[in-house]
Symmetry: C2
Subunit: 395 residues, 2 copies
């Protein structure tokens, strides 16, 4: 009787992301299904040098849970200064094992079983599964081309007395590729205050802008301590090193630190120091600009071919940055059926159902990633996908 | 109203370990309070070389949650072969972010709120706080010089219908310094089966033996899938890199992998590969023997001085390995009062209350670490401590 899993984990399956990783690791597939940054953006020789100069007995010893203090300080300086994300005196920075851990620490610190999380649908699978693992109730708010529809958010807040958290990826959303305009950000914040609900702003892509800067972060618009900001070095340095950060009001940061102690004590000490030196000594803005330029080029190739070849009934977003765009088949068609049919042609896409809060297999959407495939793969893959869509819609 | 922390975190304070780290980072203190391995045991140049040869685009990209397959394979080979810890076909290995994460993943995968954990008292604070963070009920079983008193374990299992897990550090226990004899291990396993309760065997120190090998791991005595083994490279390579592992039956490993996905996606890719190469190319047994020799010497100095100088009413364990020993003042005296009085003399010890399942401030015990202080510091510190004890007992 005791050899049974916890109720909260009983129904949680390995996420579709795992299956995606398996497919994308098959090199014969054209991988539009990845969530990875391009390996071309990894500065291997810089990281080798940084590690070599960093590994010493201090980096190898246990460290404090909230993170290596000089790294916390440069994060405060950069993200507070350039983007206004730190409310000095009121906020604390924690170095985390990737942005994913911020989501988990916030959930552990805030949620009682049965509390409600309100989020975009579709949304990031890793976050949805984290909330499910805390036995939270998920309420998905539909999006249009500009992200979460705020009137629907207010209706949900009214209907959900146990709403505890609004989870949002406002900038270059995963999987939507949408960006919430400033006016909607202000309204979301207003509603959070009106209904006394915290916002978890997950923003791993916001610095990867293709043109003009995106609207200010919700965190930077908030003076009243309603926002937890989840940041990450995964998409601007490398994900394998697992370094991210949170910026959050002190009362919640204090609990997140205790939560982190119970999870992994602290984040890898060598890479905390390597990122510190990177931020201190390298021109990170120039590096990010190079990453963004690469993704801007690839997304432009993808969109040009989609405009040319896709059945006109298919709609899609035109992201201003980030790694993803989202396509919708006409009503009545299923992204899952399309994704399955494309595996025969060795083109991997993620069906919308994977990101759907209610996991509806009839979701007509699918996500495309352009950071991982080469320009050549994008050309052949989109051609195959356009043919596959036409064949499916002709059925 | 929503801006309140979760019930499970509301009463969880930063652990005494945090305070310990603060005190031990003050270099003017003699640090008997640490939980760290000695920095002398870190092979800085080997790790530099391993990292340099390891950092490539593959190590920097996202990896699979269960861990880098070649590392899983060498863990299976070493810990399955030499120690019989892997039940081939029935068990899975997961690479984790330190041994701490194994405890958390097991808790997340097994515990419903209100379930009972049975453990030694005193026990490892990091584990106790993890169980508290899942709103588990802790039942502490007293120890004698040979670890958990098994008759008391059976009484607790009878009395606790919601017992879900026995948490134990059977070898060179933290903080007790005790080692459970084979006969007690067999009885614990028998009771786990009789009452259908899983065992979480936390064993970060077992390879650091001062003389003859300790009794076989409980995991190696179990053919029926009742044991989750938590292993760690923190004390035999370095803790700052945060690499550990679990060996557990497949049904629970599958859920632990899903849980890990929600925590940090995967463990640092560079150090997973560095540890793989370490295990493959270096003589890890020779390295471990050197670490154990250092700790054997230091503990011998400490015990010799304690035998000579301590008030005869103080009792203590004589560990056969690991990092810690445990002292008990006579009944009616408090380890907390002694620890506080010693801070004036700049000697840091951890009061037993910190490890006590019921956090009883009247606990007469305290823990001494001998891995961190130098032999010279052990000599002056134990002299000061002996004087402090005499003064306290004379009051």
């Amino acid at each position: 009787m005791s050899r049974t899993v916890s109720d909260k984990m009983a129904n949680l399956r390995p996420s579709a992301v795992r299956e995606i990783l398996k497919v994308t690791s098959d090199p014969s597939f054209i991988a539009f299904a990845a969530g990875n940054p391009s390996a071309e953006t990894f500065d291997v020789s810089a990281l080798k040098k940084l590690c070599d100069s960093t590994i010493d007995t201090s980096a190898l010893q246990y460290g404090v849970t909230e993170g290596y203090e000089p790294l916390r300080e440069v994060i405060r300086a950069r993200y507070g200064g350039k983007y206004g994300l730190v409310n000095a005196g009121a906020d604390d920075v924690i170095v985390t094992s990737g942005g994913q851990q911020v989501i988990n620490l916030a959930a552990q610190s805030l949620l009682n079983e049965g509390d409600t999380i309100i989020c975009e649908t579709p949304s990031f699978i890793g976050a949805l599964n984290t909330f499910r693992a805390y036995n939270a109730r998920l309420v998905g708010i539909p999006m249009d081309g500009e992200g979460m529809i705020i009137d629907r958010l207010e209706a949900a807040l009214k209907a959900e007395p146990r709403a505890k958290l609004i989870y949002t990826i406002p900038t270059f959303q995963n999987p939507g590729g949408t960006t919430l305009p400033t006016e909607r950000r202000l309204r979301m914040l207003e509603l959070a205050k009106k209904y006394d609900v915290m916002i978890l702003e997950d923003s791993p892509y916001f610095e990867l802008s293709f043109g003009e800067a995106p609207p200010p972060a919700i965190k930077s618009l908030d003076d009243d301590g309603y926002v937890i900001f989840a940041g990450s070095f995964s998409k601007i340095v490398a994900p394998g090193i697992r370094v991210g950060f949170s910026i959050a009001p002190k009362w919640i940061s204090a609990k997140m630190i205790v939560a982190k102690q119970t999870q992994d004590v602290h984040t890898n000490g060598v890479f905390q120091r390597a990122i510190y030196k990177w931020l201190r000594d390298f021109n990170i803005d120039a590096h990010i600009a190079k990453c963004a330029e690469l993704y801007a080029e690839k997304s432009a190739v993808m969109l040009r071919l989609m405009d040319e070849l896709f059945d006109k009934r298919v709609t899609y977003t035109r992201p201003g940055g980030g790694l993803f765009l989202w396509c919708d088949l006409p009503a009545g068609y299923s992204g899952s059926a399309l994704a399955e049919s494309m595996t025969e042609k060795k083109v991997a896409i993620v069906p919308g159902a994977a990101f759907d809060v209610s996991e509806d297999v009839h979701n007509p959407g699918f996500r495309l990633n352009y950071s991982v495939p080469s320009v050549k793969q994008i050309e052949s893959g989109i051609t195959l996908l356009a043919d596959g869509i036409s064949a499916y819609l002709a059925k």
